[in-house]
């Protein structure tokens, strides 16, 4: 039956049907005797079955991409933690101190300052607007200590 099927397949192929099915390939002498030994030499021991812990470890850290991600994250945390800030975070903002011009007067000779305010020459040299003239009158009549005087001015 099998031969019949085979011949039916070759019905339209008289050349193929008539050919001897010999093996045309020559095999080197001793090849089949040595072949199993050659394969056995290439066999490696089977890997031991991993334990459950090794499964979890391999799943979490066995993949290079996981290790890379962890390394990147660690580096990012270190950089963020050690990055120098422009001002201390826990200190409140302190406005830069600007010495008022009036404070420079503290370096001056106070007697001279008193005499200057008492002198009529100074009053003549300085032309003040009306509102300032009012202030000046107030300052002349009031018996203010120097520091308050400076403050008033």
């Amino acid at each position: 039956m099998e031969q019949q099927d085979h011949n039916d397949d070759l019905n339209g192929a008289p050349l193929l049907r008539g050919l001897q099915k010999t093996d045309p390939f020559a095999v080197p002498e001793g090849f089949f005797e040595q072949f199993p030994a050659r394969v056995q030499q290439r066999l490696v021991p089977s890997p031991r079955t991993p334990t459950a812990h090794q499964h979890i470890w391999d799943a979490l850290f066995g993949k290079p991409i996981v290790i890379g991600a962890l390394a990147t994250l660690t580096l990012a945390v270190l950089v963020w933690y050690t990055w120098p800030s422009s001002q201390p975070v826990d200190q409140p903002y302190v406005a830069s101190a600007v010495e008022p011009e009036e404070l420079l007067l503290l370096d001056l000779d106070l007697d001279l300052v008193y005499r200057s305010f008492d002198g009529e020459d100074l009053m003549v040299a300085v032309t003040l607007p009306a509102e300032d003239a009012t202030v000046l009158t107030y300052l002349e009549n009031e018996d203010l200590p120097l520091d308050l005087l400076i403050e008033e001015l």
Partner: protein
């Protein structure tokens, strides 16, 4: 020494103390038949040796999981079939060339091979077989040279019986045509 049955071989293989011995028996039992198929696919003896070694190495790794839902021989043959196709694909990639160039190389190997003992018509037949596409070549080799049943070929190739019959029929027509043309030229 008579061949062991599949179940006897597997029983020996699954014992640690007789694993290598069983595998040796397996190789001795099937190496010649499988070599014939592989050699017809790749032509060159050294290439055939590499493919056959890789086939048995994969069999060593996979035999523990062999469920016995097919014959051991058809399982081995399936590995050999896939290894041949992979090998031929690698040849194409490695050369960055077309099918025709690969065929030319195989034909040159056939013509110059010191390991070809067939007569002229056998050489012409083998050259015609090499002109077939790889999968069709495998189908033709299994059916024509080894008289394999279509059902077993279906297990080996993962292709339906109907498709295999169609493929074989086309292959027969092609080869017959080439041999006839060659004969006409020679005459």
């Amino acid at each position: 020494m008579s061949d062991l049955s599949d179940s006897e071989l597997l029983a020996l293989f699954r014992k640690e103390e007789s694993k290598h011995y069983a595998f040796n028996l397996l190789m001795r039992q099937y190496q010649r038949r499988m070599y014939g198929f592989v050699r017809r696919m790749v032509t060159d003896h050294d290439e055939a040796q590499d493919v056959l070694q890789n086939t048995f190495l994969k069999a060593w790794t996979g035999l523990d999981n062999f469920r016995g839902d097919s014959q051991l021989y058809s399982w081995l043959y399936r590995i050999a079939h896939n290894e041949c196709l992979n090998h031929l694909r690698k040849m194409k990639r490695g050369l960055f060339v077309s099918n025709e160039s690969v065929m030319e190389q195989l034909t040159t190997t056939l013509d110059s091979s010191e390991h070809f003992s067939g007569d002229l018509i056998q050489q012409k037949l083998q050259r015609a077989v090499m002109r077939l596409p790889e999968k069709q070549r495998a189908v033709f080799t299994m059916k024509y040279f080894e008289s394999m049943k279509y059902e077993m070929m279906s297990e080996v190739t993962g292709t339906s019986v109907g498709a295999l019959k169609s493929s074989y029929h086309i292959a027969v027509k092609k080869i017959e045509g080439w041999l006839t043309m060659d004969q006409t030229k020679s005459a």
